[in-house]
Symmetry: D2
Subunit: 387 residues, 4 copies
């Protein structure tokens, strides 16, 4: 990690106010490498609470706004107005806020799902292209170095032709109807706020994006999905889903998305099986990658070691053995957002050439995947051509 940077990007937030865990993560990640500077915010649906929170964070009171409309308007008038904004609000607001941000000339970093429909996502993509602004989506774990290692291994043929992809993000925290007591969970199971799915969008899209990073050459041909509401009051939204996918090269994938996998802490796991070898990664022990060549002993690759591909070393903050965790993965993402925004390199050229980050296409693909899953599930779990 080099010290560096001429000037941080002026950055604002919508949502993520007091008590928001995700808001803290965004700030922690954006500020970690001094590539962004928190300049403005509209942190809360309650204007006064949001304003106070911004001041507490050290914002100029005038730039702690009652809502995003006011913020975008006022900041656009300033010569030192914000250049980028992160959106950490309930799902149903993402489309409108993203649109407004792009229209005000801002780069956008948005929580997933980006929006509710593919057509909305395509609209955002067109708008971002028209305005020349990036849209980043926070699939946070995708920023971990071992994902870069996995991508490089596949690219270099270490696994051979890919055959099977097993994806899961299956925690147990909502095994009981916790939303009855916990308002911050309640909106997630209400289609008005959450959109057409709960766990498919909320957790399943995470490993899906990781698979896209590792396996850029695979395209989904068709899929089928079955979803359940084990806590019945959550219907029509699902708290569990299984998706089967076929890729155009003949490989297959399974995706298990769940919030009712009792006793599981987090359960985001990715296993890629090739004709020669498999790799497996688990976000709860993110510094290790299991590399399993058929007929050889399983190898446990460790972050930070010389035997990794160079792509997996670019973001190291400390040597191997010391655990880097979620916050570093997120900070790595924000560094890539910065690189994409700044359009110039503070990394070695190799780093720039290989820049991979969850962009508007990643957001769009997540929405598309959920849409296809729901279409299949609501038709009784039939195979649907991917579109």
């Amino acid at each position: 990690m080099s010290a560096s940077k001429t000037r941080p990007i002026r950055w604002g937030m919508v949502g993520g106010g007091r008590g928001s865990q995700i808001g803290y993560i965004h700030r922690s990640a954006a500020l970690r490498d001094s590539t962004f500077e928190l300049t403005a915010g509209a942190f809360d649906i309650d204007p006064e609470r949001g304003r106070a929170f911004g001041v507490e964070l050290g914002l100029d009171e005038a730039r702690s706004y009652p809502d995003y409309v006011a913020m975008f308007a006022a900041e656009a008038e300033r010569p030192d107005g914000i250049e980028a904004v992160s959106i950490a609000t309930p799902n149903n607001t993402h489309f409108a806020i993203c649109t407004a941000a792009l229209e005000h000339g801002l780069h956008v970093i948005c929580e997933k799902p980006l929006c509710f429909t593919v057509s909305e996502a395509e609209e955002l993509k067109a708008l971002s292209q028209a305005r020349g602004k990036i849209v980043g989506v926070t699939y946070g774990y995708a920023g971990h170095q071992m994902i870069e290692q996995a991508r490089a291994m596949v690219k270099n043929g270490d696994l051979g032709e890919i055959r099977i992809v097993n994806l899961q993000f299956a925690h147990g925290f909502h095994s009981a109807p916790v939303e009855e007591q916990n308002p911050s969970t309640r909106w997630r199971v209400d289609p008005r706020f959450a959109g057409p799915s709960y766990v498919l969008g909320d957790v399943g899209t995470h490993p899906l994006y990781i698979s896209e990073v590792i396996l850029p050459h695979l395209k989904i041909k068709r899929l089928m999905c079955t979803r359940q509401s084990f806590v019945k009051s959550r219907a029509p939204l699902e708290d569990n889903a299984v998706t089967l996918m076929e890729y155009d090269n003949g490989a297959i994938a399974t995706v298990w998305s769940s919030a009712v996998n009792a006793g599981s802490m987090h359960g985001q796991k990715v296993r890629i099986v090739g004709e020669k070898a498999s790799i497996e990664w688990w976000d709860e022990r993110p510094n290790q990658l299991s590399y399993e060549i058929q007929g050889e002993p399983v190898r446990v690759l460790e972050r930070g070691m010389d035997y990794l591909y160079p792509e997996a070393r670019i973001d190291d903050r400390i040597g191997g053995g010391h655990p880097e965790g979620l916050f570093e993965a997120w900070a790595n993402l924000y560094r890539r957002f910065d690189l994409a925004i700044s359009g110039n390199s503070r990394l070695a050229p190799a780093g720039v050439r290989n820049l991979v980050f969850p962009d508007i296409d990643a957001g769009l693909e997540g929405v598309r995947w959920v849409e296809n899953c729901v279409r299949s599930a609501d038709a009784g779990g039939i195979w649907v051509d991917y579109k």
Copy 2:
């Protein structure tokens, strides 16, 4: 393990001759507790080699037969003829040999799959009932004590209502077309000898049976299956398959059957998710059972400990901490075959009442499951009602 038994059952084998790994396991299990005595055999398709092998095992030369037809006929004439026979031959011969054995008044222990079709299996069931003989099927790992613990936990409500069942038996030993060099593998991928499936029947039915032991109250309502021949020369037989199932109580299951999961040693895992807790078991570390109550720390249950249910202690041969493995699990099965055959108890009454072993119904259900999977897969992976 008490010392005991008035007289061992006189027992013969068909197949399992020189170089057969599975033959060794059968003998090791049957002889372990002196409940069976090897009295006769027809060990090999090559009569002379089979005869020599039997003599080497200590058989009277006259009772080391050239084939099963001769053995069944001759033994039936003897006052001290065999009472039970184990069948360890290629799949395509199981039905004929089982039928002949039952017709000669023998109890039968057969490798899975019992036969190729449900109608054959029903025929065998009717025959076994008519003759009052048992048919046992060697789902070996089902004999491990921790499976009994899992069954007792579900029965006692420790998991609450069952929601999700994840089953897999996915090894990697056939990632490459090893059958080209290895005749003992070749018949497994030839439908004439293997029947309608490769991995579904060969490996998938193992965790399926374990799930039936643990979850006797769940009935499959419908399923869908997709199967692949990643080594193309294996078509139409699959070397990988994914099955989705719905139970009548609304629970769902996935089953991953594979021989191309590169780098995986064995990969038989069972995870049962209930509304309150989950349990997970892995045959490569069979002495541990993970018990995961939502909101509590994961507990690792160990074989042989006082905190287990009594059902999980009956078969202990040694105290906790010392690993029991595959051979003990198989020997436990053979002890249950003996109990079922002898119809009297050398275990405590509680043991007898709870006697669970892979019987003719287990064999039949395995065949039924494969038949349904193949029906679904061959129709393009559609949902089929379970029948």
Copy 3:
């Protein structure tokens, strides 16, 4: 993590310049929660390189000093001068720089070992008391929440009387004489720069301090130590050492300090055995704590969960399941340094009352332990009364 703080502490650094891993960690930790603000620095033995590095970090050029003498003098003259300084230089300079810092009225955060002898450490302690300044020592992993959990468990009697303490920090990165190629390692094995020990001070004091945090009631009565230089050119400094200790309550401890534990990544592990239960922690998987009650299944406690003691929840930045790592542990330490310096509370009162951090006594005890170990080892590994 609440947003908060009226004003960050004005903070400087000595050492930790370009290419310094530890310098990056200090800055990352100090700046993470906006409790410190980097205001001045003397980053490098090479004045020009140090100055440039400070500017790159965003310092006012005038406050990027050629050396610590100049920095302390100049900053003391300023009304907005630094209030605290972190020292990340080779061991042999710690005593002089700490002394100078305290004499200039600065709070000090110093890399371990604080100095080379107990008498030096006592001198620093007297000086820090006379000046009313804190001295913090960066035993970074001690800031992890699961260490707080362990401390609370012992305090609450969950383990019963303590019997056995197994400590180790045994990596393998210096199995070969890497210092021949790597100047940044070379000073560590040279007594002029490293002091009287290599691995005892460099790695062994880490788990020692963690044991002091968890077991504040245990006092070392006597110890014996044997040390080796497996890479012979390192003599008289050791690259491996084993220490045995007896506590005044009759408990015993072992400490394995090593840089030649080939293949081990980091290897910092702490196991505490009580009459009722044991706990075990490993810094490479820091979010888990194994809790092993005799006669019950092992439980794996996870950071961030409601079943933990409140002391273990204070520093959470994100919910359970998401891995926090080294950087969060360090940032937690810096937050405690801030609390100790500021002398007022930005945490809940419970947090303040329980404030535990590696202070001057921790630094002194580390030096004392090394001194006793070396005294024992150099006398042939005899028992020495702890003094």
Copy 4:
């Protein structure tokens, strides 16, 4: 595992009667491969109970003796008398029974410790040489294939020069004074029956012997030991001990022997650190061996795989992935006892040449080690020259 053997060795037992776990293990191991045949026994201190137990096991009633004196006398008179005897009685009787057995011309397999003093052990060794009989000692886990792999790796230089040896056998089952309720434990903590040590002899000698197998070229030069009676009523016998050892090549070792490591199931672990790589083995997961080359990913070697050394494949009963456990390790030992007794080969020549088994020297070395440990501990934990 080949079928084979002309005639089993006629074999008797002293001790190991009803309710004896270790008696069951001996029989299970001896009978597993039909290399021994149970022909006579004196199973119990209570003659009638012993006699009944023998009959139950299928012995001729005349050969189920009231005591070993009667058995040895009567069997020596028979042309078909026993040729070997296993001794599974309390420690204090081993010397007398071994002596009597050898004097009656029997091969002996004895539970450890072989006797209480080195001079007794040397007497037994002289006697066994004079009579041309083998004495085997049942360090059961030493029969596991992965120990052979470890031995071959060291021999082939895969680890380089050996530096550090960490041994432990530290369970927690006697954390509380369980002997107050449990007579079968009581004699173990009574010096009249147990001899000069409890855990040093009972558990510590197990990994010690494994280290001798893996590292035949290392000789102990001196050691120091400290032992504790955490359950005070066990004094003067220890329930915990730590031993430090120096080898003549400059390597060092630690041995942790314990019965009060609360919550640990079994805890027999061996780690060997060389200049290039380390290996680690744990008896609770005996099919895996961790192989850790400095600077490379950790490899997990699995029993039964082609990449192992041939010495590690000789005893395989089943392919890799399937767990073999304690019973197979013991059966492997008994096969080697048979080979040593029979003096001819039923294994491939390579197997015979490499025959390694716990013989009279292994028994003697265990006694010597305990004697040295006790000598050190009772002198206050001083270093003693090994003799």
